[in-house]
């Protein structure tokens, strides 16, 4: 059966069909999770952001204006939530507010099955950690989500020129790190 268009799902949801929301979740849950995971570097925070995003989508879907695609709208929410989470984590770290238990969960709770895969993700975190959150975001949206600068601009609110510069800088740093590790 062919997939229903996002617009149709939204209309169905607005008419009170809860199953339409479930379909939206099924369609976007992995994308949201993986973007958050790459941005935040661990499962615990990514899970929290994924749930927050989907709850917000549920609550705000009735205000969706169809000015952008549902995909970019969801990523706009995800992006904002991830950046906020990073800020909160930094503040908590600064004031040493995170307890040992949370830190333990952050490093040990995961949905990744094998040790090798965990190592791969740790390496990705390591490579991405050398750049700022904003640059990381541009790099991830472009490389991992295959978005155009126009779409990224809609999500981040930055000009295309600024995004190109961010991507250039991010790529340079990432390549340097990869070369050094070789």
């Amino acid at each position: 059966m062919a997939e229903e268009k996002d617009e149709i799902l939204i209309e169905r949801f607005l008419e009170g069909d809860e199953r339409a929301f479930n379909e939206i979740v099924i369609r976007y849950r992995k994308k949201i999770y993986w973007h958050a995971r790459r941005m935040l570097g661990n499962h615990l925070d990514a899970d929290d952001v994924t749930q927050e995003v989907l709850v917000q989508v549920y609550n705000k879907l009735k205000t969706f204006k169809f000015n952008s695609s549902l995909y970019t709208w969801i990523f706009k929410i995800t992006s904002r939530k991830c950046l906020n989470k990073i800020k909160k984590n930094n503040i908590k770290k600064f004031f040493s507010l995170d307890d040992e238990h949370t830190e333990f969960l952050r490093t040990n709770v995961d949905i990744v099955k094998s040790f090798e895969d965990k190592e791969k993700l740790n390496r990705l975190n390591d490579v991405l950690n050398g750049i700022s959150a904003r640059q990381k975001e541009v790099f991830l949206l472009k490389r991992f989500e295959g978005m155009s600068y126009k779409e990224i601009s809609e999500i981040t609110g930055k000009s295309i020129g600024a995004l190109k510069a961010s991507y250039h800088f991010a790529l340079k740093k990432i390549l340097e790190k990869m070369e050094n590790e070789e």
Binding site: R29, I111, K113, D117, V127, R143, A165, H168, K172, L175
Partner: protein, 188 residues
């Protein structure tokens, strides 16, 4: 890598049409540029492949009930907050009404008292019938009694709260007159 900057500009989309054409031509001609370019693409692919991992899919299938639960909870919270705000607001309003009623008790001038004030008679009962005991110092105010047809004795028995009530009942003309006078004497 010698051609790094050039490759980065190309990949970031910072080159204009002419530069792109030139870069692509050079890439087919120069073995070194081609080698550096391929190496860059390979490194980027390596970064991307770091995310190709196998995960427990049960997490994704279990996310819908989690979200529904969260939505329900947040809805309940919102309701509780709404009721709390409404209750708090109601209490504040009731407290305000109670305070204002009690504050005015014993201070509100009766019609007879007002009449006496207007007629220039001194309502003696006001002296004991007020909560506020601050009296207005007429010497400090330097108001000329002649201007307003009130005797100094009349003001002496006046408390601050009486004055405010009386002041509020002044007709516009007199009020303006008083205001102008105070402005002139730099009291306002």
């Amino acid at each position: 890598m010698k051609n790094k900057e050039k490759i980065l500009r190309y990949l970031s989309g910072e080159m204009n049409k002419r530069e792109i054409e030139q870069f692509e031509k050079e890439k087919t001609r120069s073995g070194e540029l081609k080698k550096d370019f391929d190496k860059t693409i390979d490194l980027i692919s390596q970064v991307q492949s770091l995310s190709d991992v196998e995960v427990n899919d049960a997490y994704f299938t279990g996310i819908i009930p989690k979200i529904k639960n969260r939505i329900e909870k947040s809805g309940r919270k919102k309701k509780v907050y709404r009721y709390s705000y409404a209750t708090a607001l109601l209490l504040i309003v009731l407290a305000g009404i109670y305070i204002s009623i009690n504050k005015n008790n014993g201070e509100i001038l009766t019609e007879t008292q007002m009449e006496k004030i207007i007629n220039g008679e001194i309502p003696n009962e006001l002296i004991t019938d007020v909560l506020s005991t601050e009296t207005i110092d007429l010497k400090d105010a330097e108001i000329k009694m002649d201007d307003f047809n009130f005797t100094e004795d009349y003001f002496k028995c006046f408390t601050e709260s009486d004055f405010i009530l009386f002041f509020n009942s002044l007709p516009d003309e007199e009020l303006n007159e008083l205001s102008d006078y105070l402005k002139k004497t730099k009291k306002l």
